[in-house]
Point group: D2
Chain length 115, copies 4
Amino acid sequence: MSDLKATIERIRAFRDARDWMQFHNPKNLACSIVIEAGELLELFQWKTAEESETLVQTRRDAISQELADVAVYVLELADNLGIDLLDAIDRKMALNEAKYPVEKARGSAAKYTEL
Amino acid sequence: MSDLKATIERIRAFRDARDWMQFHNPKNLACSIVIEAGELLELFQWKTAEESETLVQTRRDAISQELADVAVYVLELADNLGIDLLDAIDRKMALNEAKYPVEKARGSAAKYTEL
Amino acid sequence: MSDLKATIERIRAFRDARDWMQFHNPKNLACSIVIEAGELLELFQWKTAEESETLVQTRRDAISQELADVAVYVLELADNLGIDLLDAIDRKMALNEAKYPVEKARGSAAKYTEL
Amino acid sequence: MSDLKATIERIRAFRDARDWMQFHNPKNLACSIVIEAGELLELFQWKTAEESETLVQTRRDAISQELADVAVYVLELADNLGIDLLDAIDRKMALNEAKYPVEKARGSAAKYTEL
């Protein structure tokens, strides 16, 4: 497993070598995250849940690339905003743990508003 | 900065304590990534690029939470597929570096097909 | 069935009474379409395909509202660009009919590039 | 302007000639709407709001096609659920008119919860 800091540094260097910061305002990065997320979902378009399990073998490389595309923009947006993404996840997981108590949420796909 | 491995472990533990793996097939996770990405973009809806720069101060917590929501599902999908996300990003960045040579791409928002 | 022209006129009047055209540039409308589409998909989050069939009975009103939200922005963007949406659909259906010949596409969820 | 009923009939005929109803459950159609919406937004990726205004001239055909793709799935999902889309829009516009009173909403991009 390579290093998260080194990955973020590579994303920054890639952008800055191309002078792209001018395009990478927060709204544009949010647009890019949803665009790439749509491309990831497109790989599963029309597939059943079961087929999606085998697709991850046959289209592994394409899925890996689309996941990376989403992740790159997520990491860059967090980095640009000075947000430590792992800390943000930790804080959000704590909220989720409170919203979805184990005893209520176990085995249920209901939203917390419905629990 | 907390540890990526520990973060992935927390995401797994949260899911398994609630017996949610049954809902987390690859297609459903891809759906969730795009749903959360849409919620992130919603924070910037109708804002100008300039307003999006100040919004990241005034709505910092909301943005941080939505970014975390996207990231959690990205990390989980990669983890479920046995994909090392940082390696996947490294491979994708290498492809991007080849697709967008510095001398051609500098200062341009054109897609590589237009360069 | 009410009248498409009257519907477009109502959308226009709603926007103009609020002086919102200043926010409704093409990019912002495209953002809003994908945001609303994400909210529509959220109604089906974690559901199986089978459950999605019954959900359309139990959450009929919510689905109808989210569909309407997407449709309103699609109609407005087309209207703002002077595109007759039904004509655009007719032209696209002709392209689709050529890309997916009945004899090749019958019963297959494959993309045209894979046929 | 061609006829909405005829357009819906053409979408139905296209699908049924290919025996695709088996793939077109509500969840899959919702996925397809968001995927196509992402492709529409991609045309505006990295563009400023001002550039998006000129893009609608230079990329008119591409925009028209992506809009049509979104619209086709919106019309089909409504049709499959027996929802009259224009009636649904009328009902939603009435809700929007109540949520965004002219005197409060005029010239403001604020959400109704912030008004």
